[in-house]
């Protein structure tokens, strides 16, 4: 780290972010849900499933940044309304992505946590805009970004007056092709020594393969992460996006149990 004084690096007490009845940065927080909100049935059923399995929050995208302009771009406002219904049904707070400065004010009416996606990590206009809100921000690491650049992006938000930033490691781009990206697990202990902000991991986008999600989630617990965000779909084979990396409710439920007992063990043995 260069010799810079960032609020993110200050020797503060650990930041605990409060979201509804739950927290991030204190215990182990599991956020689960579909890549994108496809329709009401899919979303509500998935919400119920992840709630039952013990998730703390729900994720789901209404605005989807997609490589191709001809791919599904998300349901927009309609999607946000479905997410609101999912929250009413299950009580789970909603984490959803915002991708345009103009959308920030009204997306805040539906979201409990605003997500800044990897491709927008250095969209500084957007960072400034969400820094003005009073919603917690889940800031994904850009897939080509150093830890130092990432912390500077968190600083844009903190500098705007919003103290509630959750860092999310989601894999970086490397030459390896067996996985979609390379999960930088070292970022977890590295950030714990650098910043007071909580750090979670996204094993779904990192691995891009369903079969690796559980092992990576358990590794995240052992490495001291504050949580995970995972893709779950009531019917992965029918998911519009990311089906290769999406867990079924059954797979998620098994993993949740393992996560909970491991986290309890780790907490006890400290």
């Amino acid at each position: 780290m260069k010799n810079i004084k960032l609020t993110a690096l200050k020797d503060n007490e650990k930041t605990v972010v409060y979201v509804g009845d739950t927290t991030i940065g204190d215990g182990f927080c599991v956020i689960a849900g579909p890549c994108s909100v496809e329709n009401e049935k899919q979303t509500i059923e998935t919400a119920r499933a992840v709630k039952e399995a013990g998730a703390d929050m729900m994720r789901g995208g209404a605005f989807k940044p997609r490589t191709s302009p001809y791919a599904f771009q998300g349901l927009g406002l309609k999607g946000l309304k479905i997410l609101k219904k999912a929250r009413e049904e299950t009580g789970l707070p909603i984490v959803t992505e915002v991708i345009d400065t103009r959308d920030v004010p009204w997306v805040c009416e539906y979201a409990d946590v605003l997500q800044i996606g990897a491709r927008n990590m250095q969209n500084f206009s957007l960072l400034k805009e969400v820094g003005k809100t009073r919603k917690p921000i889940l800031l994904k690491r850009g897939m080509n970004s150093t830890i130092e650049e990432w912390l500077n992006c968190a600083e844009y938000i903190l500098d705007g007056g919003n103290p509630d930033v959750i860092l999310c490691e989601r894999g970086i781009r490397t030459f390896e092709t067996y996985t979609r990206n390379t999960l930088d697990i070292s970022a977890v202990p590295a950030l714990k020594e650098l910043t007071h902000l909580p750090v979670i991991i996204d094993p779904s986008h990192a691995a891009g393969r369903r079969s690796l999600i559980q092992a990576l989630s358990l590794a995240a617990v052992a490495a001291g992460a504050a949580g995970v965000i995972v893709e779950v779909h009531v019917d992965p084979a029918e998911a519009i996006c990311d089906k290769e990396q999406t867990l079924s409710p059954g797979q998620f439920s098994i993993m949740m149990k393992k996560i909970r007992v491991l986290h309890e063990f780790m907490a006890d043995s400290e």
Copy 2:
């Protein structure tokens, strides 16, 4: 390339982009100017110097995406007004970056070419917004983006109805630290076989070292690029940003002569 039908890949005639009295995609276009507009004097003097040396257009940033929130963020509207004055003085068309969807309409009143920076290459909201304008778009490659992803971003603009996209290779992020980034010179012939859009290179951001700019610019000519965009400042030692990679007017002038004769030679020997 996946088996996708992109307008960018269509077997069209080569796209020639018209900007004021000049063109990109036909001959060799040199765009030069400071990293950022700092004040009127610096900007006008630099504009005159690059004009005299033979540049075809002027670059200059009024909105600066900076790693740190505490770094100079650009002069905004005031900077655009200075750029307008530089155009009036020299006749050079202005290339300037836009970083927020909300700014697109009014930045169009000042810019001749809108630049999408590397960090915003996959800011799809911004791509859609500039796709609605009738200004040429200089689309920089994201520093971690594949050629395929880049062409898909061009497609967002084309799909919006704007046919005038200029691709700009500006170095990709690798493990090498001697240079700021690694100029992917192969992208030039690769894009020439893939797309009808013109491709230019930015040796300044790629190399991050003044001493390498000329050799890379000549390599770009020989590889068949449609132009270069280079950082020039009337007094590099005093530049607010990127001073290590900025040419003085004298250095630029020497390089311009070499570029012109080499391009003429290449054109003749085809």
Copy 3:
């Protein structure tokens, strides 16, 4: 993986490698010791310390592949004799690197496990030579090598008639500079689904920072690795190589306890 039939990929029973009285691929194996053998005192004292803390084997380099020709290149034969003494004192099997085809026969007289270092992963002559021995081979992943290339290197050894290959993930080279390399933790579950060979991790070379070793080792346990290899020196501040990433005996001892209880917990909860 391309559609190739590698012995390494065959649907065999899990390979368990026997080394003296211990095994790799069955339980969790901890290999510890100094980067290089510097002298008898340092080596024997470190050996005793890691033995007491509960290590299963000892590592130590007599031939050091160094970036610069003017850096310490290792003690060679003298170093191997010291390692032999360390084994006699502690009973710990010795893991040591071989870097030249001509040295293989006589290094076998001292080593219990031959290490192929990251820089020699694709030194195919060396792989063929160690494939002819009957010593277990610890094959480090090249820092720029894909999992597929790595498995092909294991195949060179297996094809030579030596079935005892231990794969060691030691971090890959990426753009991140906070850590020395990026530990590819996903390689652990990936290899478990691809090959019957055991996979261990080297958090010392991956992180390059002492403060991250414990968290990464615990992550390796949780991810299902078969072991770790870590650098320990009786006096890290005086180590000739890698002092930034070397644990003291005290730090190693604390970590060992955590590793053992976590592994026991993971084994029980399966």
Copy 4:
């Protein structure tokens, strides 16, 4: 560069390497030939074709480092004898790879220039061994190696008493998949300011695509490289290795003419 005093970095006169009747480091040297020596007919015919087109030296592999142990590993001694015959027929000096310390003495009897391949760049035993010979060494850059590491490897050879090192940039490994590797063209001017050793490029392995070779070779000339090494095969469709990146004699001949006139133009305009 760290503050190290390398012979390679000394402020010496430019090194010119003499090979038979030709030189590298003075003018523009073209080395051409097949990836591997397959048989006498293919080799001699290719040698004649590249000679006729104006190549300065011939390349051809007798020992092939291959990802898979089941791929063609080269003809060994038999291949070297064929290369010797090719030299007798055409007068072209022979560049061929050596991969094992044990082979260095006898390979020297056949080769005019010893090549150290990318995978062996940090095989320090091999570097020391070729440093003892009096043959010029063509040292390829490791595909994951920094310029600093590469110069240190040259130093191993110089330190052995062999002053004739030719550096060869052959593409580095990045995330881009359209090309086989990413040619780091900036390495050419970077090395020209760092070292007195000549630097050539290998566009064939960098691009991995026949259609890009000519543009990259011309870029190398313009960037100031001392030469290129390219793969040519009398019948590319039948080549055992690298057929996608191999030029036919006809394609090579057209390119040679363009290279020669461009180099002449560059030399004149300095």
